[in-house]
């Protein structure tokens, strides 16, 4: 009895996003059974669902950082530009220097963290509103990326990058491993220490948190650093994908997808709660939509309309009002049954 209760204690919110994702995939599976087939070919899994997972990784990783920032009542618009900068840095390092690969990774993640640090300082020490502070780097960041590469795309040959881009380990694409590892580390870091709690408390009420002895400002900075680092990792994966860092387009509009993923996970932009696992589900929902649109043959003009409509549908299904309405209907029908 007690165990059962514990199980039900899980925040009921988590079923919304999972339910939405499953429904979308099931509908697609009915329309086109090929969509849900997974084959084993050349030592790796192959199929639309795997594609979705693989394609979703960059967004999911960025969304992970975004979830933490949004949890502190912030927002990070600069991630798209950070992706470009870190991609550019990594590509240039690979092409122009003899640095070992792990150093390249470290340097670009540090660069990402450094940009996050600047965002964090602007937000929490100078007190600029997050959307504007990160807008500054969103605008100038792409310029910095252009400076790094001299304004052109940089292509490279690197086995390590190829492995990240398209390699597989135990039949599962390497980037899925990277994402899983990142998610696990983040979950451990946030939930097995008090960091997650502190971040959420800062997001929910920064003033009260400060009076509790929580270093609210420092925590915000940490959140932005983390977001920057996540964007850097996503940047590496994105350039590995095509062995080119095309800074003009790299990571463009990714911030919107990441924010969307966080919100689909049920988080409020007013801060206070961080849902890591669900954020990944949110990213998967978005990617599923994109993949469906691409493989369905809808004329390009309709891409956005389809996307908007499905997102709206998912949001409406998940909304409190709908849930209340449904539960009202249910109690009514129960009452009717009792009356009979």
């Amino acid at each position: 009895m007690k165990e059962r209760k514990k199980f039900l204690d899980i925040n009921p919110k988590i079923w919304g996003p999972i339910f939405s994702l499953v429904v979308i995939i099931v509908i697609m599976g009915i329309i086109d059974p090929g969509f849900i087939q997974i084959e084993f070919k050349d030592g790796r899994l192959y199929g639309s669902l795997i594609d979705i997972l693989v394609r979703a990784t960059p967004t999911a990783i960025i969304a992970l950082g975004m979830a933490v920032v949004i949890g502190t009542k912030g927002i990070d618009l600069s991630v798209g530009s950070v992706v470009a900068i870190c991609g550019a840095v990594a590509a240039v390092l690979i092409v122009e220097t003899q640095l070992p690969f792990f150093m390249v990774v470290i340097v670009s993640v540090l660069v990402g963290g450094g940009i996050g640090f600047l965002n964090g300082i602007m937000v929490s020490f100078i007190g600029i509103q997050p959307i504007i502070a990160t807008l500054i780097l969103m605008v100038s960041g792409r310029g910095i990326a252009q400076l790094v590469t001299g304004g052109r795309a940089v292509s490279f040959d690197s086995t390590a990058m190829d492995i990240i881009g398209s390699g597989a380990l135990l039949a599962i694409p390497v980037r899925l491993w990277i994402m899983t590892a990142l998610v696990l580390c983040t979950v451990l870091l946030l939930r097995k220490t008090a960091l997650g709690l502190f971040l959420e408390s800062v997001g929910a009420n920064a003033k009260a948190s400060r009076l509790l002895g929580i270093e609210a400002r420092m925590l915000k900075v940490i959140a932005y650093i983390f977001s920057g680092m996540c964007a850097a990792v996503a940047g590496m994966i994105l350039i590995a994908d095509v062995s080119t860092a095309e800074i003009n387009r790299l990571g463009l509009w990714l911030e919107l997808d990441a924010i969307l993923a966080v919100v689909l996970a049920g988080a409020s932009l007013n801060g206070g709660r961080i849902y890591l696992g669900l954020t990944i589900i949110g990213a998967l929902i978005i990617q599923t939509l994109t993949t469906i649109i691409f493989s369905s043959g809808v004329p390009v003009e309709y891409n956005l309309i389809v996307k908007a409509c499905i997102i709206l549908a998912v949001l409406l299904i998940q909304s409190e009002t709908t849930k209340n309405y449904v539960s009202q209907l249910r109690t009514k029908s129960l009452e009717n049954r009792h009356a009979e």
Partner: protein, 504 residues
């Protein structure tokens, strides 16, 4: 219950019939029925979490009721929102100050009823109107300043001024006196009587029984969401009232017991010439180990400010501070906590609770912050601590994971107290710690405070309740105009002496 409800021969203004309202895990109201006569002041009493505020919100349409019927003026009454209730003649001051902190006092007072000229709002007339409204509650402040530049007590008075200003047949006041001091309370009562004479009915929620006896005609008691009874105030002795509310008898609060000043010489805190420009004039104060120092004063006298600068929530610009005989410079609350201080702020909605987080999280946060993020308190330990606190302070919550924002006001206050008790500070600063707390718990909390200081903790308590200060303080510091004006010790402490000091 012994005392029967007197027969009301006039048609009641408001008739409540079998109102029920449940939240996930709590039945907040269970078939509540009573009625209110025209021109009556009706007390609605009960322990923290009894369902008073919920009742008020159901009545005014903020919550939808699960079942039941309400008749207002003989008509079926079904408010869909607070605004709707207002247009029907029910004006309400809810428990937490519910005004717009970012708007000016004038804008707050005239919202939705701004005087217009040529179809547009006339700021000049609005200000005039606001001044008139403030005048009625005896508040002399600049209405063109932002509301949140005033203390919570002033805000409370503004809220009352607003509610009175609308033309209503029924006025509902949910704990309006919680943060007011004696003078303001008198002023408010005068107003209530005036309204009553105009035939306006008032529902009045409070935890101060003296006030109940002073002003109300009848009393309705709720307990655990259930209706216990409606009584004529005059015919209900206090002991019976307490029994009705708590369900058991309670000893009288022991009075005047703390006179044996702790003679321990080691001061846990000593401040000298401690102050901040425009904020607080320099103060000298020392607090000994195991001592309770009370802070008395009028609205805006600087009590809260003193607590804030000691705790490092505000930077000081002059003076020195010693903690346990060591000179310290505290620049942030974190440092204060590291030095063994704790601070329970006055405005719980803004500075205290973290509404989205659960009761458990809210309670352990201060302790966790003290330990640092790397040493998380194991869940079992957390639960044990929180459960024991819930028990000790009799906090009413269905479970530990309920968001604190959904608790009743008094219970939120208890959680915040518990938060600081868990950190076991050497000096705890309490700003209006018993605000909105029911008599049973009040009793418990005073007992706990005494127990704590016997164990060696020191307390600095700012309170508008002189009665309570007199009961527990070893020493009372009287503040006026952001300045310390007097210090009373031992047998000098009495309500009268404090009032005199303030009046000087």
């Amino acid at each position: 219950m012994g005392v029967l409800e007197p027969v009301v021969d006039v048609q009641p203004l408001l008739e409540i019939k079998n109102i029920s309202k449940g939240f996930a895990g709590v039945q907040a109201l269970n078939k509540v029925s009573f009625s209110i006569a025209p021109g009556e002041i009706h007390a609605l009493l009960g322990e923290n979490g009894a369902g008073k505020s919920t009742f008020i919100k159901v009545l005014t349409g903020v919550y939808t009721r699960d079942s039941g019927k309400i008749l207002f003026d003989g008509q079926d009454f079904h408010a869909t929102s607070s605004g709707h209730a207002q247009t029907q003649g029910v004006s309400t001051v809810y428990q937490e100050v519910n005004l717009i902190p970012t708007m000016t006092v004038t804008e707050n007072l005239t919202l939705l009823q701004q005087p217009k000229r040529f179809g547009l709002i006339s700021p000049k007339r609005a200000k005039q109107r606001a001044l008139e409204m403030l005048e009625r509650v005896g508040l002399n402040i600049d209405p063109s300043k932002q509301l949140d530049s005033y203390s919570i007590a002033v805000q409370q008075l503004v809220a009352i001024a607003r509610a009175i200003g609308t033309k209503a047949k029924l006025l509902i006041l949910d704990e309006p006196t919680a943060s007011l001091d004696a003078k303001e309370v008198l002023r408010l009562f005068e107003l209530m009587r005036q309204l009553k004479s105009q035939g306006i009915s008032i529902i009045f929620v409070t935890h101060f029984l003296d006030q109940v006896y002073e002003i109300t005609d009848r009393i309705t008691v709720l307990r655990n969401g259930s209706f216990i009874g409606t009584y004529a105030t005059k015919k209900l002795p206090q002991a019976e009232l307490i029994h009705a509310m708590v369900g058991k008898s309670l000893d009288e609060l022991t009075s005047g017991s703390n006179r044996e000043t702790s003679d321990s010489a080691d001061d846990v805190l000593r401040i000298q010439n401690f102050g901040k420009q425009r904020f607080l004039k320099p103060v000298d104060l020392s607090i000994a180990k195991g001592e309770i120092v009370g802070l008395a004063g009028m609205l805006g006298s600087g009590r809260s400010e003193l607590c804030e600068i000691i705790f490092g929530a505000q930077a000081v610009d002059q003076g020195s501070m010693e903690i346990a005989q060591n000179a310290v410079h505290i620049k942030s609350p974190k440092q204060a906590i590291d030095h063994g201080l704790g601070y329970c702020p006055e405005d719980r909605k803004i500075d205290g609770i973290i509404a989205e987080l659960s009761v458990r999280e809210n309670m352990i946060l201060a302790l966790q912050a003290k330990r640092g993020w790397l040493k998380p308190i194991p869940m079992t330990e957390q639960k044990a601590m929180v459960e024991s606190m819930i028990e000790r302070l009799s906090i009413k919550t269905p479970n530990l994971n309920k968001p604190i924002g959904e608790l009743s006001g008094g219970n939120q206050q208890k959680v915040i107290l518990a938060r600081w008790l868990l950190t076991q500070p050497t000096l705890l600063l309490l700003d209006e710690p018993t605000r909105g707390i029911d008599i049973g718990a009040h009793h418990d909390i005073i007992a706990i405070m005494k127990e704590l200081c016997e164990q060696g903790m020191s307390l600095l308590v700012a309170s508008s309740e002189l009665e309570e200060l007199v009961i527990f303080a070893h020493r009372v510091v009287v503040m006026k105009d952001r300045k310390k004006v007097m210090e009373l010790t031992g047998s000098d402490i009495s309500q009268k002496s404090i009032v005199n000091a303030i009046a000087q």
